[in-house]
Symmetry: C2
Subunit: 440 residues, 2 copies
Amino acid sequence: MRATDIIGKKRDGGELAAEEIRWFVNGYTNQEIPDYQMAAWLMAVYLRGMSHRETVDLTLSMAESGDQLDLSPVIDFAVDKHSTGGVGDKVTLVVLPLVAAAGVPVAKMSGRGLGFSGGTLDKMESIAGFRVDLNDDEFLQQVRDHGIVLSGQTKSLAPADGLIYALRDVTATVSSLPLIASSIMSKKLASGADAIVLDVKVGMGAFMKRRDDAAELAQIMVDIGTSAGRQMVAVLSDMNQPLGSAVGNALEVREAIETLRGGGPEDLRQHCVAIGGHMLRLGRQDTSTYAMAQSMTEITALMDNGAGLAKFRELVEAQGGDASMVDDPDRLPQARLRDTIHAPMSGYITQVNALLVAQASLELGAGRARKTDPIDPAVGVMVHCKVGDRVEKGDLLFTIHANDDARLARAQDYLLRAPVFRSREEQPLPMFYDTIYGNK
Amino acid sequence: MRATDIIGKKRDGGELAAEEIRWFVNGYTNQEIPDYQMAAWLMAVYLRGMSHRETVDLTLSMAESGDQLDLSPVIDFAVDKHSTGGVGDKVTLVVLPLVAAAGVPVAKMSGRGLGFSGGTLDKMESIAGFRVDLNDDEFLQQVRDHGIVLSGQTKSLAPADGLIYALRDVTATVSSLPLIASSIMSKKLASGADAIVLDVKVGMGAFMKRRDDAAELAQIMVDIGTSAGRQMVAVLSDMNQPLGSAVGNALEVREAIETLRGGGPEDLRQHCVAIGGHMLRLGRQDTSTYAMAQSMTEITALMDNGAGLAKFRELVEAQGGDASMVDDPDRLPQARLRDTIHAPMSGYITQVNALLVAQASLELGAGRARKTDPIDPAVGVMVHCKVGDRVEKGDLLFTIHANDDARLARAQDYLLRAPVFRSREEQPLPMFYDTIYGNK
């Protein structure tokens, strides 16, 4: 095979054979195919697209490009979740302990965030001492001992994805559905999940702005997982406004703890019940008609009876974290400055622009613009309004947690533009738009 | 400016500003922009195209990326020619001395061939001792002394083109009209021509297989030259069958000499009169109605009275070549083996596939598959038939000149498939399809 032939075939809109894709991805991973040939190919893929079959083959080639985690010695049937990323999305922190508390072990590898707020690992690192760099043996041993583990991805897992992602970032080939889908799913497949719940976000604060793009991405990922013999569910969920109230690392941990205490914002609570319900149902391989309703009821009970919180505390302690921060969230990192933004008029909220809240949070230092940027765990924004709310002039809309006056001022600029009011009544936003099931 | 923004703009089908193109080309030439970003951009250009305005700006950026030859100290108004490449195209060898003999000085930089037969430099190197590596001083001095020079392109001329061409070759982005046009024209502009005659080939043996592609390429190049203040003419000429009879380096030199003696194949002779006529007319800046007819008459006379041949001999001698080879072409390199192919049936020739003749010639060793391949000057094919000819079974169609039995056998395989016969009368192929003039 010749690299130029494979590039040329995709350039002309042809469908690549599984063997061609595998040869190209392996050649790139082994540094036999140079960056410039992969770059030309990625642009051809971006502009010509890929069939579902090609996307499946690309994903499998990437998943098989390095080590693959075998969870079978410790979990009979492993269930995992993945969110495509949203503002205030701390769902993993809540549902992982709930599912584990229900007796279904969870072994999750997570990434760091690039963008408006930290990733799951960054959030957990708000808790002093919490380790996210477990090696494979520690990772497996912890699942065996505690039924729950949450650690960083090892570099030997789907290395082709890491290499290709870095190249996409500098060649304007990021926002391509087959490339996004294969990047996400290659890591999930390599990390040993038997069932995967995908939370595909759509809206102003999500990567996918349009419903049909998000639905297509969800469908491709479900197809990939199904083709690879995995049980799959994808939910399309709203990301026009932030999820819950907290946006920022320690603030989100605190909100997750509140939710595990049976409190927390109603939308976050419902979101966790839905995602947790799917995970529980899949983890128990229960295909009965009532499985989903039963699972949701059980997740709700574990939220209200403190069993989920206990499992969260066990997770924190097992990975060296300071469990007293779980018991007393006031001990989590706190920002030096607080400021508030109030409603400039009375009316109904018709928009709380998640992207602007995210940009405010990024300005404060809660996220990274570049991979190497440090994160400030304490800073962020508390959002006190939701679309559909009736507010009176002077009502509290946002609380800003900052460590720097200039940054605080820049965050205010964004937040002042985030809410939109109108005089007529406004419906709340739906939480979910659709659910897509794998058909195998 | 950021490279990813420029790549993204072209990826989305946007039109790049002159400054963006210049910044990107300069950054690449200076090695500030890496290969992988140029590769992604080239694929985006390939698939999204470029406006004429963008193509002009790309060409100018490439032309200005290195040294630019200033011919004005030695030639008031310099005229150049360029062929997009065809099988048996030895027109430069014939028209350069004819135009110089008419008193219009010619200073041509040529390239080496990549593909079925050698380039002009390779052909001239069939003549023992002929130097093609003149430095700028030698180049200019020779025009001053002899009114004619033919040498290799210096590396400092349009270096961006050399870099981009090498990258296109390995990223499946060669066959893009704006990239082809800018590559050709950047070198022509940098080498100081005031007027340029383009010979754009179309047909089975040409890069452009279709008339409308060739016409578009010709129009883009004429537009580029005109925008850069050059006098431009492009002729669209047939390349379905080989031009003249000889295909192969020394064989073509011999045929060029025969043509400069007033002999040679009729199609080659007519082709040289047309190209030479345009060059003479432009070189004299004569815009009168009769200029073309007068120029063609003059070129024909210089072919028949030996003045062109004398100028060719002067060129060879000035650049260190063995002029006795011009006087006695039997002294040119000759192949060890000869074989002939005869008509297997009687009928009218309806096709002499130039591509198959070219592949036969390449098999014999007359061309290069890779840049570093050596060329055998002696080998090649003499084509004794033209479309429209009536032949009888057993008539001579091809003579093969080879230095290796296995290669000879492979060449035969190609040549046996090259001619197509039919029983009804067939029209000869036209030599030219169209002429495009610059309108400035």
